[in-house]
Assembly symmetry: C2
Homo-oligomer: 342 residues x 2
DNA sequence: TTGTAAGCGTTATCAC
DNA sequence: GTGATAACGCTTACAA
């Protein structure tokens, strides 16, 4: 790999002049420039980004740390960030944080040590104070989940509103025994959604019953267990609200034939093609990623400006068919009615 | 951010001694070491990875370039690579290449300029000669799609075998008019699968009919068009083979009520939960990513060793229900038969 | 055991 | 308009 020195030697100029030509500095005579250009081409010069970066003190790289890069929700966040970064000649480093909160600081700090231009993080830990020392040097933007014990920019969805809407929707369809299936209650989104669910019930005059709330679901096995427990209640639920896309994707396969109405937080590929098509609260992870990347660019450009710390994106209900299922109790009633009607 | 010099000043030693202590070099007296440790802690020293990297001439980073990071197939490749990289204190940079072959070289070279430790690429272009100059410096590993006009390591799936099996499976279920739905024929995987499809037909004594082959499907609209064309043939197909997961995900929603049997190359989340559950050729993208990352580590460790250039991973049929659908013609026959049978 | 000098490739500063 | 010099933070080679 040819360096600037090599090019300089070939063109009979100093390295600095090569640098000037390469960076389109006008203070070079046309003849010199031409000679240097020729040498550049001849040696097939490619700049060593690392050296430039090192000198500049900042890598043209945005870090993206998410719980699981193979989860389409986070994949779309990364895609949104990547698209905007690429437009600005930045690249994106991605790290999967996994499930273990204790491993997060190590993973994230090893990212940060690369003198990133900024970090977008959907954290799995519950204490982000370890990022304090980094926050002066590097723009930090939280997505999907807000920072805890740390002040930083964040872009999150309206968990409360979305869960409220989804739950209310089930109530409007005649359900009053509505189960809540979620993952870890320590995740802020899950807590916000549980709150929204609870508020919706109370606003509809339905008592909150914590036996209907099943947390900790991570996979199909967990979903099956959760369902089994719900089915053993004296009064079983006729509908379920699933608190995120991953839970929903574990839950749906276990649901066949149970006749439960469902609404779910988070759309995902083919949710509209399942039988029945799922009524969901649609989030927009690409926008989340794009906004986060934009904020990093803004902060790099105008460090002194003040920005809104917390941006809550609205979410909206996409009605499909899964909310129309009459639950078991309703079905029994229907069975009594149907013969009369025809 | 404190540098080694700062720590050195505080501990009254040279920067080199700090370096020794930090890197656990035994040639330091215990007292000195302790003093340096204290200073290290006091200043909260964090190494600047960029500087280390710059000096070493190689970033502890593996690049992953894929067509679309939000596509679960490539997400899983990235996840596999990331998991192995993380175990070896490497991180992973991801770039989305998009659809345009012409943009690939620019994106990839800007990645490579960062003096990566290695690059894993699922290319979208058809000429990888531009990577030749890089291949001496940086281990390049192709995944999913082989290199063209370039010699490099690659890990791919057995496209021919998988497509052959899937097609044959449909034949065994009584189909002889089998459509092929695929994306861009310039993608090697698609071509390999088309070959496999064709061979399977011929081995079964079924004439290949290119009117049954529909390429260029990228989204639901394209899938709908492709289906419309097939439906207009004098003799319509009774079954379809879909050549990759993305095509399948576009195709399945358009298929409702058409009564076509289906097998598809590539499993994806919830393929088993659709109605009917999809019979697929299962690939293993996580393994693909893991093997690719492992190869990079191996090449870094033992540059002189010789490695097998091309590794073809077997794929296997996962039989579910979608292959059991009797196509239209068969259904008509059935309709004639059913009254007799019951 | 510890320190000095030099350099990785690039660019800012300041001479000429 | 052009070039010598130094510097970014760290580590290797070589001295002391």
């Amino acid at each position: 790999m040819a360096t600037m020195r090599d090019v300089a030697a070939l063109a009979n100029v100093s390295a600095k002049t090569v640098s000037r030509v390469f960076n389109d500095d006008p203070h070079v005579s046309p003849e010199t420039a031409e000679r240097v250009q020729a040498a550049l081409r001849q040696l097939n010069y490619v700049p060593n980004t690392l050296a430039t970066t090192f000198r500049a003190g900042r890598a043209p790289v945005i870090g993206v740390a998410v719980p699981d890069i193979a989860d389409p929700f986070f994949g779309f966040i990364a895609k949104g960030a990547d698209a905007l970064a690429a437009q600005n000649n930045l690249s994106v480093v991605i790290a999967s944080l996994g499930e273990d909160p204790d491993r997060e600081p190590g993973i994230v700090e090893s990212l940060l040590r690369q003198t990133l231009s900024g970090l977008i993080i959907a954290p799995v830990s519950h204490d982000h104070a370890y990022l304090k020392p980094w926050s002066d040097r590097t723009p930090l933007v939280f997505v999907d989940r807000p920072p805890m014990r740390l002040s930083a920019d964040c872009f999150i969805e309206d968990d409360h509103q979305g869960a409220y809407t989804a739950t209310q929707h089930l109530v409007q369809h005649g359900h009053s025994r509505i189960g809540f299936i979620g993952d870890d209650a320590s995740i802020p989104t899950t807590r916000g959604r549980l709150e929204g669910y609870r508020t919706a019930l109370e606003d509809s005059g339905i008592d909150y019953d914590d036996r209907l709330v099943s947390l900790g679901v991570r996979d199909r096995g967990g979903a099956a267990e959760a369902l089994a427990i719900l089915q053993r209640l004296e009064v079983t639920p006729t509908a379920l609200f699933s608190s995120n896309a991953r839970v929903t994707m574990s839950l749906v396969p276990m649901l066949q034939g149970l006749g439960l109405a469902v609404t779910a937080f988070g759309d995902f590929p083919l949710a509209d093609t399942l039988s029945p098509a799922l009524t969901v609260i649609d989030q927009d992870p690409v926008t989340l990623g794009t906004l986060a990347a934009q904020r990093i660019l803004d902060r790099l450009e105008r460090p002194r400006r003040r920005y809104r710390r917390r941006t809550v994106l609205p979410v909206e209900l996409v009605e499909r068919r899964s909310c129309y299922i009459a639950g078991r109790l309703d079905q029994q009633r229907n069975h009594e009615v149907v013969p009369v009607a025809g």
